[in-house]
């Protein structure tokens, strides 16, 4: 039985996050960007995915405020962000009132702790 030394895409993504880096995949041949991390491009099967640093630029595609009791931490934002590279991801827009987050808002990514784990969060530009 063989043993593969390299991390799978999910573990690699999280390892990059632990280093403070937001990395996404890009297909060698088509140049297509892929998120979330996969072993091959979804729908085409193209392999040869390189890790590249995301530009961090994004636009809010949709947003909601999860209403939450103050004693449970209060209201918070959940948003879908369209990355400049094409893929969409779920995240939170922070450093702003959750109700102030609007569709179409330009945002920038940063890696920061959420509940003790490094995650990609966004702030308004």
């Amino acid at each position: 039985m063989s043993k593969t030394a390299t991390l799978g895409p999910e573990a690699q993504f999280r390892a990059f996050l632990a280093e403070g880096k937001f990395m996404i995949q890009r297909a060698k041949d088509s140049g297509r960007y892929v998120f979330y991390p996969r072993v091959a491009v979804p729908g085409t099967g193209e392999t040869g995915l390189d890790w590249v640093e995301a530009s961090g630029d994004g636009v809010v595609y949709s947003t909601t405020v999860v209403r939450n009791r103050p004693e449970k931490g209060g209201d918070y934002n959940v948003a879908l962000i369209d990355l400049a590279e094409g893929p969409r991801m779920m995240s939170r827009v922070v450093d702003v009132e959750p109700t102030a987050v609007k569709i179409g808002m330009k945002v920038r990514a940063r890696v920061a702790a959420l509940d003790g784990q490094p995650q990609v969060l966004f702030t308004p530009l």
Partner: protein, 382 residues
């Protein structure tokens, strides 16, 4: 070209129990009681059943659990779970298995005691690239879809409230509906916001309930006590599991399942006498009316306004009261088919749609993920 399943199988019995609150009973007990009611309607016995189709939110291997509980040794079973639309998919799979002779009497079954057991339950795993942000799914996902629909098309919370009010008006005609009584647009708008823009009354009920349907081949359906209701067409489609992977939040996979189901059924939209659209949230009804082609994309909000889909309106939608006001034990899809059958049989009482011959029952699962459209018709439509 696939061989058409149109009219090859029929529903010959339906059963429901504990529609609303059923304290002291397990999900399986509610499911099994429903099966026995449906079999009695069909003039059949549990010993006749050789096909089992089931999904619940509490059983990881539901086909085995259900067959064991009922004492059935199925020749064919299917316990696949694609959320609330599983049962439309089971009807399609049952029709395939019946046509192929792999079984002769198919039971489709569901049960849940979530309300009495303490609230909404799910056996869903955490979504790997979403869970960290704590979406309160499923509602967060539907709120994101509603927000996007409002942004792109000018849909308003009042439009969505129209859906809830129409559903309640239908429920007020249905003695089995759990939420009855007056409901105004303002009541819906003023209800506590759960996930913007969705308030409490934009969300489906959290109830208990068991439901079952018996299907046989058309040749065996005619000599049953109740008039058979034929599966004219059914089709499925799904594009994503996580809401962040839905290609466009304003377009569900019903744009694919709908045309395929219509093609198999050989009917046009104008032939549909009533629609049962899985209304887990008010935005669903608007989305599915658009995606199934009953109005143009983006026009669903104005389309549902002015009582168009309410009792007395030109397009009866969710005539039982739907997931919003009749029953929603967690996976509601089977109830849409049971109401379609009830209406086509002419047994819907005060909410009966006149001369209902063809009904569309559309299931939705996950976070606007799986879409399965089924179209049912009376013998006259064959």
């Amino acid at each position: 070209m696939s061989k058409s399943l149109r009219g090859t199988a029929a529903c010959v019995g339906v059963g429901m129990v504990g529609c609303g609150e059923a304290p002291g009973r397990s999900a399986m007990e509610l499911l099994a009681e429903s099966v026995h009611i449906a079999l009695a309607e069909a003039g059949l016995n549990i010993a006749d059943v050789d096909g089992v189709f089931a999904a619940t939110a509490v059983h990881s291997m539901p086909a085995m659990s259900v067959a064991e509980y009922l004492g059935v040794r199925p020749r064919f079973s299917n316990g696949s779970n694609i959320g609330g639309s599983s049962f439309q998919a089971h009807a399609l799979n049952a029709a395939l298995a019946l046509e192929a002779g792999l079984c002769d009497v198919a039971v489709i079954a569901y049960g849940s005691n979530q309300r009495s057991a303490g609230g909404f339950t799910s056996i869903s795993e955490p979504m790997p690239y979403e869970a960290a942000f704590k979406p309160r799914n499923p509602i967060t996902a539907y709120a994101l879809a509603a927000a996007r629909h409002m942004h792109e098309f000018g849909t308003t919370r009042t439009h969505m409230a129209e859906v809830a009010v129409a559903a309640r008006q239908w429920a007020n005609l249905n003695p089995d509906a759990f939420a009855r009584g007056p409901l105004s647009i303002d009541d819906v708008l003023n209800a506590r916001i759960i996930n913007d823009p969705l308030g409490k009354l934009d969300c489906c009920l959290v109830t208990d309930g068991g439901a079952a349907m018996v299907m046989t081949r058309a040749d065996r359906a005619k000599d049953r006590p109740k008039a058979p209701v034929y599966l004219l067409g059914a089709a499925m489609a799904h594009h994503h599991r996580m809401i962040s992977c839905m290609p466009a939040l304003t377009v569900s996979a019903a744009v694919d399942s709908g045309p395929r189901a219509f093609e198999m059924a050989g009917v046009a939209r104008k032939d549909i006498d009533l629609l049962m659209l899985y209304d887990a949230f008010t935005i669903n009804t608007i989305l599915f009316l658009e995606d199934l082609g009953f109005c143009a994309k983006g026009e669903g909000g104005p389309f549902v306004s002015g009582g168009r889909i309410a009792p007395g309106g030109p397009l009866p939608v969710n005539t039982s009261g739907g997931g919003l006001s009749c029953v929603h034990p967690g996976m509601y899809g089977l109830y849409t088919m049971i109401e379609a059958v009830t209406q086509i049989r002419g047994e819907a009482g005060a909410r009966q749609v006149k001369n209902a011959k063809v009904a569309l029952a559309h299931g939705n699962g996950g976070v606007l993920s799986s879409q399965v459209t089924s179209i049912w018709g009376s013998e006259a439509t064959l």
